[in-house]
């Protein structure tokens, strides 16, 4: 299980775990709670080139649709098949089994620390 302190965040409520040149991306517990029960995910396939800041996927709950923004430039190397089959993993374990995509990034933008993100949501990740 990942320690929260290893993670970086975006203002769009994503978390990013950097390991070498690969960024694992998911949505925060705050975002998952705001969306409610997630029932459908539309994620980019492996091999897709993505540009930081653009919408690359959709996260649907019973009540609403959230967009997944690419936090980095790069190429998707893996999509979490388990979470596509069982979207509820995003609610039950957003920072762990509920990860969404892994991206081989070309450039890393400035991301938020846990404290900075916590200040943004008024609570914490």
């Amino acid at each position: 299980m990942t320690e929260n302190t290893d993670l970086r965040y975006t203002a769009e409520h994503e978390w990013v775990l950097i390991e070498g040149s690969v960024a694992t991306i998911g949505i925060t517990a705050y975002a998952a709670a705001q969306l409610g029960d997630i029932v459908y995910l539309d994620l980019p396939e492996a091999g897709t080139a993505i540009a930081g800041g653009s919408v690359v996927g959709e996260i649907e709950s019973t009540k609403s649709v959230g967009e997944l923004f690419a936090p980095v430039d790069g190429t998707v190397v893996e999509t979490n098949a388990a979470v596509v089959d069982s979207p509820e993993l995003v609610n039950s374990d957003p920072l762990g089994e509920g990860w969404l995509i892994k991206v081989e990034f070309t450039e890393l933008p400035t991301l938020l620390s846990a404290d900075e993100y916590g200040a943004l949501t008024g609570a914490g990740a």
Binding site: G36, D37, E60, V65
Partner: protein, 375 residues
């Protein structure tokens, strides 16, 4: 709404303690979910859910002229309902548009409780006041919303739970029929106990003074625990009513919709010589007016309110618009209600909905999507 400060239910502290997430609904801070809206939905279908509906608006109409007044003001024949009976009705504008949909209870020969949507409280109050005629028999109209809390217990275990609720005194719950209400009491406070609801399940709605709402809520929650009762928020209420094909004001119903278009052609009593909106209903909404249909899709992507409906995947002229939609928790398929051109109203029509740039096939179907098994 004229007021800007959010209002909160007399049960707000109870919801906070239960870990609820809140949403703004018609100017009220109400629980949207406690933990999982899917779990709350399934609990109502399988066991029971406990809802706080204290935001709803209530009006008391009483006196010798009350029944005749409601016959004029509302579309249904309110004078024909018996004491202890409830009736779903509509408040129409002169042009036949729907100002609100409401439930009317006759609680005594000359006393009626009119329950309206929270979002329409002021419109309903204004319309009712306007419709009082000086020459008619006297009656009193009072907005009792602030003096009325509403708790709903919905689901197959509802009756057993209320029978087990400590402090709730009620005689005749076992024989109480659907859309009937009886006087009850909770620790000597009067309660109006009605077999009504908005979920498609058996269930009850309990009206009482706000100061006692917390006591009743806790007592029902305790009694319900062994039955699998959970507190349920507005998110599950919305998917439950959608599956049950029940319209929601502001989505399926509005000022530009006549009852016939919404599939509510039987609600207005056209046998009544006079009521507001009657002439417009006689003229009808027009042969090409859109009508409400149910739609069922494949896969897991839900069409949502505002999405456009097309006759086929390659047509570019919309023939309708979605008013509500969700991935049905009970059925596992996407369901939606939409207004479509009358040529596409027949069940089985294959249509196409633009879901954020992707066209997906949906088939028209009869409502409701879900029907409970009668015991």
């Amino acid at each position: 709404m004229t007021s800007t400060a959010p209002r909160s239910s007399p049960l707000h502290a109870v919801h906070e303690a239960a870990g609820a997430s809140f949403t703004d609904f018609a100017g009220w801070q109400m629980p949207v979910r406690y933990s999982s809206d899917l779990a709350e939905h399934h609990a109502v279908r399988a066991a029971a859910g406990l809802f706080d509906l204290s935001h709803m608006a209530e009006f008391r109409v009483s006196g010798r002229g009350a029944a005749a007044f409601l016959d004029l003001a509302l579309a249904g024949e309110i004078s024909a309902i018996e004491v202890g009976q409830a009736k779903y009705s509509l408040l129409l504008a002169d042009d036949g548009g729907i100002i609100d949909d409401l439930v009317v209870y006759r609680t005594a020969d000359d006393v009626f409780l009119v329950v309206a949507n929270a979002s329409n409280r002021e419109h309903v109050a204004a319309a009712l006041e306007e419709r009082a005629e000086p020459a008619s028999a006297p009656f009193e109209l009072a907005d009792v919303s602030d003096d009325t809390a509403l708790i709903a217990v919905q689901g197959p275990a509802s009756r057993s739970i209320l029978e087990a609720t400590a402090g709730l005194e009620v005689t005749g719950i076992d024989t109480l029929r659907y859309y009937r209400a009886i006087p009850a009491s909770f620790e000597s406070t009067p309660v109006l106990l009605a077999r009504t609801g908005y979920t498609g399940e058996d269930g009850f709605e309990l009206y009482l003074e706000p100061a006692r709402a917390e006591g009743l809520w806790q007592a029902v929650a305790r009694a319900g625990e062994p039955f699998g009762l959970v507190p349920a928020g507005l998110a599950s209420r919305d998917t439950l009513r959608l599956e049950a094909g029940m319209p929601l004001y502001g989505h399926e119903l509005g000022l530009h919709t006549q009852p016939l278009q919404a599939g509510l052609g039987r609600v207005p009593a056209l046998g009544k010589p006079r009521f507001v909106g009657r002439e417009a209903l006689e003229r009808g909404p027009g042969a090409d007016a859109r009508v409400l249909v149910g739609l069922v899709g494949e896969g897991r992507r839900a069409a949502r309110a505002g999405y456009l409906v097309y006759a086929s995947d390659d047509s570019t002229t919309p023939i309708g618009e979605v008013t509500s939609g969700a991935l049905s928790p009970s059925l596992g398929t996407p369901i939606a209600m939409a207004y479509v051109d009358p040529a596409f109203r027949e069940p089985g029509a294959q249509l196409s909905i633009d879901i954020r740039g992707t066209r997906l096939g949906y088939r028209t179907t009869t409502l409701p999507f879900y029907r409970r098994k009668k015991d």
